[in-house]
Symmetry: C2
DNA sequence: TGCTAGCAATCTTTTGTCTTGACTGCTAAC
DNA sequence: GTTAGCAGTCAAGACAAAAGATTGCTAGCA
């Protein structure tokens, strides 16, 4: 597509998007002349703009207005960012880079906070709405299950230890007077059935598929524990979406009417919708930029996402949602810097517990 | 105040508020004549309106407009609702009452869901933003603490059992090879120190205030456990605020500009602000109605709250936040019906576990 | 004394018209 | 291929006039 463009057309198109991103106003031929091409006349630029309009890159809101970029123009712009800058973090000031690192070195208490803090930093630095989706249940394996009988009641606590943390805030009822040996035997059966399994594969299964005849004595307990695991899965699929700066979008004139604002906010406040906005990506793609309703799924919006890995495993996706004319340079820069910082931080914190 | 009003003035004032609540438009003398006083002329009503304006109940947006209610008018209106209707639930249709009960009988899984579901129902029925604040930590007593060593790592799980549920998703590190007797001894000391205490009183305390010399061996563990309790307190003060229908306010013309909408939403999205909006009430007050910025704390808003009790204990507060001209009759009706339904439901679910 | 009809006064809202300013597209010349 | 110049188009703002809503006032009536 951009192969067909002459060098001057590229300068004009890139400059037009640049100007439109910073001002939000339609860009006129003389604007481009002043800022980017002082040695050619505005009339020349006008004929170039005419051509670009015919090619579908730009349009006029009305006859006597300047041009505004269309989706293809933004795509061209983003592509040129990705190819031009070998070092993306150079899009940020040193101050901003340092700020990101500092936040993480000082503020951390829990693993869950990392994602929240990351989302917050991204939103603060870009001034757009950001989100962070943890894929924390994707590769979680159950290590060990323990039943602990409480002395004061006929309940037992179920401790489910995984390689990523622990599930342990649930109890099950044990009928009547129960001997310690029964609890131990039940623990052994639980481990035989569940230990070593990926937590996700248990989501749609029921107990009868897992047990054999000798385990029938413990069927009730196995049922209860599987129920606990399923509840945990469903709860955590929602809990692991963090949104920050949801109201920042309202600062942009694109959302200066309540109708659009409400529409945007209703998308943003539903965490399952946000999960859906994250296309399940080929993990080789570093950044995904989707512009406009059809691509992004949200009216008048663009979404930039980045997959975050530890080793080869995708542990989460961070994203920014903003107006189509968002500051892509800065957003990609921030996401990239965050990516580098995060992999360091997560490595350091690896092995810590997590609720 | 309302003692001074003649019967006709009461009819006019009540009617004016009623009309304004349903239309949102300034009410003219002839509006009142048509709907409430067909046997007197509009000129007569005008002179009454004049008097009411002088008394501070109503005002004119401009010379050629009808009147709109001021804060005192709403207060008069709410008072007349509270005194007129001996049975508040009669403000709801049978269908609505049944709907509230059904939701609770079918949908319940966990205690935490009750509050969320209650907030949702209130918001759905009233069409305003609702919130529910649990006072769940107010009277929680620590029953028992157990340390459970995991076989596969040098961590121990801390189980804190309270009379309202359990805190148990945290671990502490135990250095080196540790004998079971040490764990048991530590558990005993933990119970000696913490068992029987109200969880809230531990918020600002540090370990050295709690222990004597012979416990020094376990100081590290006690410190860790107290830290866990404190984190739990701080986390749960936020978690127990549920907001539903935050965007519904944007449907009302009062919030038809982005500036006001944003202001409102930023108040509503901060859970600690919402906690503050709940005045710590005399629990003998059934309903609190606060109108306008000074009383409610939120610009252009009214807040209606109700304290929910089990026995004598206040377990939570539900509230509705809406425009000053909200449908107080319906809101109070819904909150009242919810109150009755909730006490039944909570009684039934008492004794269940709760994370 | 209280109520009412009628009317002038006041102010918002709507509509229409005009002007200004910002661009463009076109054309003829370089 | 590029440019200068100019007519054409459209949005936006200013202003005026007209329409509509509602009031307060006043004089007269029961």
């Amino acid at each position: 597509m951009s192969k067909e463009l002459t060098e001057r057309k590229k300068i004009i198109l890139h400059g037009l998007v640049d100007l439109y991103i910073s001002t939000g106003q339609p860009v006129s031929s003389s604007d481009i002349q002043n800022k980017f091409l002082p040695n050619v006349s505005s009339a020349t630029i006008r004929s170039e703009l005419n051509a670009l309009e015919a090619m579908g890159y730009i349009e006029q809101p009305h006859t006597s207005a300047g041009r505004i970029p269309l989706k293809d123009a933004y795509k061209f712009y983003v592509d040129s960012i990705n190819s031009d800058n070998s070092n993306r973090s150079s899009m940020l000031t040193d101050q901003e880079t340092a700020m990101i690192r500092n936040k993480f070195l000082t503020n951390l208490i829990q693993v869950e906070d990392i994602s929240k803090e990351a989302a917050k930093i991204i939103s603060d630095l870009t001034n757009y709405t950001s989100f962070f989706v943890e894929k924390s249940l994707a590769n979680v394996i159950i290590d060990e299950i323990k039943l602990v009988k409480l002395s004061k009641s006929n309940k037992a606590i179920v401790l489910i230890v995984t390689d990523h943390g622990m599930i342990s805030d649930k109890t099950i009822d044990i009928e009547g007077e129960v001997r310690p040996e029964f609890i131990d035997a039940a623990s052994r059966v639980l481990n035989k059935v569940f230990a070593g399994k990926f937590i996700n594969e248990l989501e749609l299964i029921n107990v009868s598929e897992l047990i054999n005849d000798e385990m029938n004595e413990f069927k009730g307990i196995l049922d209860d524990v599987l129920g606990i695991i399923k509840i945990y899965i469903s709860e955590h699929q929602d809990k692991n979406v963090f949104v920050e700066g949801a109201l920042k979008m309202l600062d942009y004139p694109e959302y200066n009417n309540v109708e659009d604002a409400k529409n945007f906010l209703s998308v943003i406040s539903d965490k399952s919708t946000i999960s859906e906005l994250m296309v399940s990506e080929d993990s080789s793609i570093e950044f995904s930029v989707r512009i406009g309703k059809e691509d992004s799924g949200v009216d008048k919006c663009a979404i930039v996402t980045a997959a975050y890995k530890v080793g080869d495993e995708v542990v989460g996706q961070a994203g920014v949602i903003g107006p189509e004319r968002m500051d892509y340079k800065k957003v990609i820069g921030v996401l990239d810097c965050m990516k580098k910082t995060l992999s360091t931080v997560i490595d350091n914190h690896d092995g810590d517990n997590n609720g």
